[in-house]
C-alpha cells in the first residue's frame, strides 16, 4: 500500500454510496457481477411463484424422469423436480452464505480493530492464534467441527467463521494499521475517546472499502465451502434443496441424467462468478488491489 493511495482514500473520507454505485455502473464487469447476484436473489425469492412443485415432496411416479414439459430439467431419484430444487437452492445458499459472511467479516474486522488498536502483546497473541488456525488444513478443521456439532446450517455458518475469520483479520488489520497512524486518530485519543468509540466512529468508516471487498470475496469462497461440505456428506440435512447436497446426491447420475448435477453446478458457478466480478468491481472503484488485499 503506497502513500498515494492511502492519502487519496482519506481525502474522500466516507465515500458516498452514490459515488460507489456510479463507479460500479461505469464498469461493465462489475455491473454484470452485481447483476448476476441480484438475479440469483430475485430467482430465490420468487421461486414459489416460478414453479408449481414443492422442492421436498417425493413423487414415486416421476422418479428419474427425463426432461419434459412437466419437468423441464427432469426429476431426481425421489421424483423431485430438479429445476424447482435448483431455484429453491438459491434461498438456502444465499441465506446461509450471507449469514456466514456477515459474521465472518464482522468478527474478523472487530478482532482486527482490537489487535491493531491495542497493539503489543494483545496484537501478538491474536495474530499468533489466528495464524495457527490458518496453519491447520481447513478440511481438518471442517471435519472436526462437523463431527462434533453434527450437520445443519448453523454448523456450516460456524465452520465458515472458524476457517475464514483469520484471513479477514489479517487483511483488515493491515488496513487499520495505516489508518491508526493518522492525525485524526491521535486527536481522538487525545480527546480521551475509548477504543470502541474510536474504532466505530473513526477507524471502520475509513476501512469500509477494504471490508466491503473482503465481504464480496469471502462470500464467494463461503458458497464454495458450503457446497464442498455438502458434497462430503456434511452440511445441509436432506431433503434441503442445497446445491452441494444436490451435486452429492446426483453425482452418480452425472453420466445418465447430467442435468441433475449440471443445474446446481451452473447455479453455484454463476453465483460465485457474480460475487467475484462484484468484488473486482468494488475493488477497482475503491482503488484497492484486491488480490494483494485478500491474499497478502
Amino acid at each position: 500500500m503506497t502513500a498515494v493511495t492511502v492519502s487519496s482514500r482519506f481525502t474522500q473520507n466516507r465515500a458516498s454510496a452514490r459515488r460507489v454505485v456510479r463507479s460500479i455502473l461505469s464498469s461493465k464487469s462489475a455491473t454484470v457481477g452485481f447483476g448476476l447476484v441480484i438475479l440469483q436473489i430475485i430467482l430465490a425469492i420468487f421461486a414459489p411463484v416460478l414453479t408449481p412443485y414443492n422442492p421436498t415432496t417425493n413423487d414415486a411416479m416421476s422418479a428419474l424422469a427425463d426432461p419434459s414439459g412437466a419437468h423441464l430439467l427432469g426429476a431426481d431419484a425421489l421424483g423431485r423436480d430438479i429445476l424447482t430444487r435448483t431455484l429453491y437452492g438459491g434461498q438456502y445458499a444465499l441465506t446461509v452464505s450471507f449469514a456466514a459472511t456477515v459474521i465472518t467479516v464482522a468478527l474478523g474486522s472487530l478482532i482486527a480493530g482490537i489487535a491493531a488498536f491495542r497493539g503489543g502483546i494483545v496484537d501478538e497473541v491474536i495474530t499468533r492464534v489466528l495464524d495457527s488456525i490458518l496453519a491447520i488444513p481447513a478440511i481438518l478443521s471442517l471435519l472436526v467441527i462437523v463431527t462434533v456439532f453434527g450437520s445443519g446450517q448453523w454448523v456450516i455458518v460456524f465452520a465458515a467463521v472458524v476457517v475464514y475469520t483469520g484471513g479477514v483479520t489479517r487483511v483488515v488489520r493491515a488496513a487499520i494499521l495505516d489508518v491508526l497512524s493518522k492525525d485524526f486518530i491521535t486527536a481522538a485519543r487525545a480527546r480521551g475517546e475509548g477504543m470502541f468509540s474510536i474504532l466505530l466512529r473513526e477507524v471502520f468508516p475509513n476501512v469500509l472499502d477494504v471490508i466491503l471487498v473482503e465481504f464480496a470475496m469471502r462470500a464467494s469462497w463461503i458458497v464454495l465451502l458450503i457446497s464442498s461440505l455438502s458434497f462430503l456428506g456434511f452440511g445441509a440435512n436432506p431433503p434441503t434443496p442445497d446445491w452441494g447436497l444436490m451435486v452429492a446426491e446426483n453425482r452418480n447420475l452425472m453420466a445418465i441424467a447430467p442435468l441433475s448435477t449440471v443445474a446446481p453446478i451452473v447455479a453455484l458457478a454463476t453465483l460465485i462468478v457474480g460475487l467475484n466480478l462484484a468484488a473486482d468491481g468494488l475493488a477497482k472503484s475503491f482503488g484497492i488491489d484486491r488480490m494483494k488485499e485478500v491474499l497478502g
Binding site: M1, T127, R128, V129, D131, S132, I133, L134, A135, I136, P137, A138, I139, L140, S141, L143, V144, T147, V148, A174, L177, S220, L224, S227, S228, F231, L232, G244, V247, R251, M254, A255, T261, I265, L268, A269, T270, I272, V273, N276, D289, M291, K292, L295, G296
Partner: protein
C-alpha cells in the same frame, strides 16, 4: 535483517506448536475415541474399557499430550492407535505419494499459470486474454470435485486412457503411481492455476503501465528484453504471495481429489485418521501441514524482502 529473519522463524515455530495444541484439544472434543471407533458396532462398555487400557487412552489428556510432545521433539511421533505401526513411517509413505502429486501439480501448474497469466496480461482484451481469463474464472468458480468427476467420466470411462483410481494402495511404488497421477494432477492444476493466472495478469498489466517500462519502450529495447528484464521480475513479486497461499492450500485441497481417485496420500490418511480418532497420525499431519504453511509464507516474505528493499519496513510491522 538477520534479526528480522530470526524473529520470523521463532514466531513460525510458535505457530506450529499452537496449531498442534488446537488440534489436540479439538480431537478431545470429538464424540468417541479410537477405542469406540475401532470396535464400531461391537463397542460394548467392557470391550471399550479393555481396548482403552491397551491403547493408553485411560491416561489424562494433558499427560498424553506432553508425552507425545516429548517424543515428537526427539523425532518419535509414536505409534498409530489403529494399525500399531510407527506413525512416522505411515505418514512418511503417504507424504511421499502426496509429494509426487503435489510436485507435479506445483511445477506444471505454476509454470503454466505464470505463462498464461503473462500472455493474458500482455495481450490484454485480445482473444487469448479473454480465453485464458474465462478459464481462470471457471477454475475459481467450479469446485474441484466437479472437475475431478468430469475428468474421470471423460478420460477413464468414456475414453479409457487413464486409470480411474489407484488400486495399488499405501505401499504403491512410484512407477505404479505415475500413470494414475495424471488426472488428479490435472484437476488440481485447474483449480490451483486460476488465482495465480489472475494475479499474474493483473500484475503484468500494472507493471506494463508503469513509468519504467514505458521508459524502456521509449529507449527502443526489444520486446523480449522488456518482457524478461523488466516486466517479469516486477510482476512476479506480488504473485509470490498468491503462489505461497495456493501451495499451502494444496495440502487441504488435495483431500477431496485424493478421495475421488483413491490416491494413497496424506488427504486419504487424514480422513481415515479423523474417522478412527487416530490422534498421533492426525497430530503429525497437522505438524507437517503447519510447517508447509509457515515455510511458504516465510519464503514468500523473505523473497519479497530480498527483491524489494522498500518492503523491509512495512513488513516488519506484522
Amino acid at each position: 535483517m538477520t534479526l528480522l529473519i530470526a524473529r520470523r522463524v521463532a514466531l513460525s515455530v510458535v505457530t506450529v506448536l499452537l496449531a498442534t495444541v488446537l488440534v489436540f484439544t479439538a480431537i478431545q472434543l470429538l464424540p468417541g475415541d479410537a477405542a469406540t471407533q475401532i470396535l464400531g458396532q461391537n463397542a460394548t462398555p467392557d470391550a471399550v474399557a479393555t481396548l482403552r487400557g491397551q491403547l493408553g487412552l485411560d491416561q489424562p489428556a494433558i499427560a498424553r499430550f506432553f508425552s507425545w510432545l516429548g517424543g515428537a521433539l526427539h523425532g518419535d511421533f509414536g505409534t498409530s492407535l489403529v494399525s500399531h505401526q510407527s506413525v512416522g513411517a505411515e505418514v512418511g509413505r503417504a507424504l511421499v505419494n502426496t509429494s509426487l502429486l503435489a510436485v507435479i501439480t506445483i511445477v506444471v501448474g505454476i509454470t503454466l499459470a505464470l505463462v498464461l497469466g503473462m500472455v493474458a496480461g500482455l495481450l490484454r482484451d485480445k482473444w487469448p486474454d479473454v480465453a485464458i481469463s474465462t478459464i481462470a474464472l471457471v477454475g475459481m468458480s467450479v469446485p474441484e470435485f466437479v472437475v475431478a468427476t468430469v475428468l474421470v467420466l471423460l478420460f477413464s470411462i468414456t475414453i479409457p486412457f487413464f486409470p480411474a483410481v489407484v488400486v495399488a494402495g499405501q505401499n504403491a511404488t512410484i512407477a505404479e503411481l505415475l500413470p494414475s497421477v495424471t488426472l488428479p494432477a490435472v484437476a488440481l492444476i485447474f483449480v490451483l492455476s486460476a488465482y495465480i493466472i489472475r494475479m499474474m495478469r493483473t500484475s503484468v498489466i500494472d507493471v506494463s503501465d508503469s513509468e519504467f517500462v514505458r521508459t524502456a519502450v521509449l529507449k527502443g529495447n526489444s520486446l523480449g528484453r522488456i518482457v524478461f528484464k523488466h516486466i517479469l521480475p516486477s510482476a512476479m513479486l506480488p504473485t509470490l504471495n498468491v503462489i505461497a497461499m495456493n501451495v499451502a492450500w494444496l495440502v487441504g485441497g488435495v483431500v477431496v481429489v485424493e478421495s475421488i481417485f483413491n490416491y494413497p496420500g496424506i488427504g486419504t490418511l487424514m480422513i481415515q485418521s479423523v474417522q478412527t480418532r487416530d490422534l498421533p497420525v492426525i497430530l503429525l499431519i497437522t505438524v507437517l501441514s503447519a510447517v508447509v504453511f509457515v515455510v511458504c509464507n516465510l519464503l514468500a516474505d523473505l523473497i519479497s524482502i530480498a527483491l524489494n528493499p522498500r518492503l523491509r519496513h512495512s513488513r516488519s510491522a506484522r
